[in-house]
Amino acid sequence: MSRKHRSGKAAQRHVRAHLFAALGDETRLALVTKLNGGRSYSISQLTLGSRLTRQAITKHLRVLQSVGVVHSVRTGRETRFEFNPRPIEGAKEYLDLVSEQWGRALSRLKSFVEN
């Protein structure tokens, strides 16, 4: 395993560890939903129609950025934000695993009570 590959994995680990917490916030979930469509948005566009200030939205975007769900792209003088689905897919895998564990346990319960 190359050094580069390992550090990539460590970065991924860091991302997933904080992902659930980052998504456990209504404003940030709303931002993710908005960005989910595949388009990129400027801060002004994301602030539009929100009760929050530009500053507050920026803060939430930084949190999403820190877990890799959102990344920013500079076009000229403007910074635009885009959605990255990969971290959420990773977290979903984890939940699927726990969910599968329960699936197995419940089918054992089923044969236990139905016999």
Partner: protein, 150 residues
């Protein structure tokens, strides 16, 4: 993204039977594959150990939250708390709830596990990594067992 797990299963057995299978510590241990030290009591810690061959060194620990007869049984625990050397006690546990409903064919069981967003630290991924091999193996054991039992 939802950060809770939800499962529903219809059981062809009366609610009272399912309630017993969930809350009698010996019966729970039978299907969950854990040997518990004593009965479940609301507000108290339940301790035991996993009964899978090769996994007996793993402890099972949960705090019983609610026991509303034939309606709701819940406990908090640390999912994948599988490292005997690690202290999980400072971490926010997840909440597991079993809800029972009477239906024409028997019992509807609703299971939810919530609170994944509150688990601090990098353990979430650590647990995932550790179970990547171990858990797959365990799954095979379960499958084998179910196949033998049926």
């Amino acid at each position: 993204m939802s950060n809770q797990i939800e499962k529903r299963i219809e059981l062809k057995a009366p609610v009272s039977r399912v309630w017993r299978a969930l809350t009698d510590y010996r019966e729970f241990g039978e299907w969950f594959r854990v040997k518990l030290d004593g009965p479940f009591v609301a507000g108290q810690i339940s301790r035991g150990h996993i009964t899978y061959p090769g996994y007996e060194h793993l402890k099972w620990e949960a705090v019983v939250q609610k026991m509303e007869p034939e309606r709701l049984f819940s406990f908090t625990w640390h999912p994948y708390a599988v490292d005997p050397k690690m202290d999980y006690s400072n971490e926010m546990p997840t909440l597991v709830e079993f809800r029972l409903e009477k239906i024409a064919t028997g019992t509807l069981l609703l299971l939810t596990e919530s609170g994944f967003d509150k688990i601090p630290s990098g353990r979430r991924l650590e647990a995932f990594r550790r179970n990547d091999g171990g858990w797959t193996e365990q799954m095979k054991n379960i499958e084998k067992h179910v196949a033998q039992a049926s």
